[in-house]
């Protein structure tokens, strides 16, 4: 007999549903919002309305809906045959291990939490651990795409943190590191550094950080997928021949076509 799968995520009751031991009807509905329910579902910290408002701010600060941004372009391509759902699935399937999207924020949250503990929050010591060198070619949380001097979303994230008015040790730590790495190594921080550390400050563990960032990004994936599916554009379904350059093998005959035995 198979052992039952143990889960505490919740269950369907009679007249109510239970999420992590809480009644949807009596404990959650009207008392808390989406972000608290999401946090509960992934085993994160309970979020009061203030923390939820903070996550709202972080979410909106992250909005970058340009359909040319790579994962969103994947969504457009796959949704171009008319299914927004397929476009969503494609974007989601592409996220694991990708260096864009929610995945890097897991590594960032892990790394900066580790370095914060290791250096007791001393940014100078942290820079010596993080700086690019023989063992580290790339510093997680640094590097922006395109001709931008700064990642414009960082100012909004930092404003959201300031407006929350609560302790933000990891964001301040990240900011101090960013200042030094910019000055010493010309490394430009990206939004991943600040959103990951802001969520760590709220109390999320690294994997949970990635899942919350996924939820942040979902609105632009949904919007792009919906628009592509609505348009069903032939220009996406098949590129104009002039837009593709073949650089593979030139015509050759197989051994069977040449009438040769092939072992």
């Amino acid at each position: 007999m198979t052992d039952p799968i143990r889960s505490s995520i919740g269950y369907a009751g009679f007249g109510d549903n239970i999420l992590r031991g809480l009644s949807v009807r009596d404990d959650l509905f009207g008392k808390s919002g989406y972000w608290n329910a999401l946090s509960l579902s992934i085993g994160g910290p309970p979020l009061d309305r203030g923390a939820e408002a903070h996550l709202d701010d972080l979410c909106v600060a992250m909005v970058a809906p340009d359909p040319r941004i790579w994962p969103l372009k994947v969504t457009w391509l796959v949704a171009s045959y008319g299914s927004a759902w397929a476009g969503l699935s494609a974007a989601h399937a592409s996220f694991a291990d990708a260096f864009i999207g929610p995945w890097p924020t897991v590594e960032i949250a892990e790394l900066y939490d580790h370095v914060f503990r290791e250096t007791r929050g001393n940014a100078v010591d942290a820079v010596s651990l993080l700086a690019p060198g023989a063992t580290r070619r790339r510093v997680p949380g640094f590097g922006v795409a395109g001709p931008r001097a700064v990642d414009e979303r960082i100012a909004l994230i930092r404003d959201a943190v300031a407006r929350r008015g609560q302790s933000a040790l990891r964001v301040e730590f990240a900011a101090a590191i960013a200042d030094q790495l910019l000055r010493l190594h010309d490394l430009v921080p990206n939004v991943g550094l600040f959103v990951a550390t802001a969520l760590s400050d709220v109390g999320f563990q690294p994997l949970q950080v990635g899942l919350v960032v996924h939820a942040f990004l979902e609105l632009q994936v949904v919007g792009n997928s919906f628009e592509s599916a609505s348009g069903q554009l032939s220009s996406l379904q098949a590129l104009d021949p002039d837009a593709v350059h073949y650089e593979g093998m030139m015509l050759r005959q197989s051994s069977r076509a040449r009438g040769e035995a092939s072992g």
Binding site: P147, L251, A257, G263
Partner: protein, 232 residues
Amino acid sequence: MPPSVPRTGSPIDHMPTPDRLSAKVVRPGARPLLHGYDLQRDLSVNYDGGELALIALSGEAPSEIQSSRFSVTSAFAAGVSAAHAPVHAALLARRYGSRDSGVASVAAIGLTELARFELDGQAELLTWLAAGGESDPPASAAPASDDDAAASDRLREALRSRGCYDRRLDAELGLLPAVVTSLHACGLTQRWQLEAAFTWARLPVAIAEAMAHDRGDLKTYPINVPPFSLGE
């Protein structure tokens, strides 16, 4: 709502970027080449569907021995049933009314995950194969049961009957490690090639099982299989 802001420049407009997409495996157009082979005039008449998959994955038209080996091994890789999560998921999607392409998508995602998971578990075997497979195989590749050993023997027998046995299969291997070893001997030595070969072999099987279930039939679906224990 405030009025829309006027369109400004975008950093993406100014990114240094090529103006054409490169194609590296298939020549686009009405007469496509696959790794340089004419699909319509050469591969279509000289190779079967399985061989076409092997050419796509390996980049070269296979030898007769490689073709036979891939054909036999694919059959042993293909045996996923309703008991396996990707097929279970796909048939469940079918039962709750997903469109056909949605059922196939669920199967495909599940099967790529299954292949990744299985090959993660064969890391020691892959290292052994990359080193030539001359020494004793890792203990993790040994058969997990008598049934597993018997299935490996059936693979060996089938390969011998087609004259495409690889001597590395002399080692004591469970079925999955034996299939991986045989695919490796087909020239599929990279992780992505092996993952793709497993997915290719299994996808039609999974879709067929899913589509054999009645669309919309949730009443006969065993919702409590496997059992869950829910609560704090």
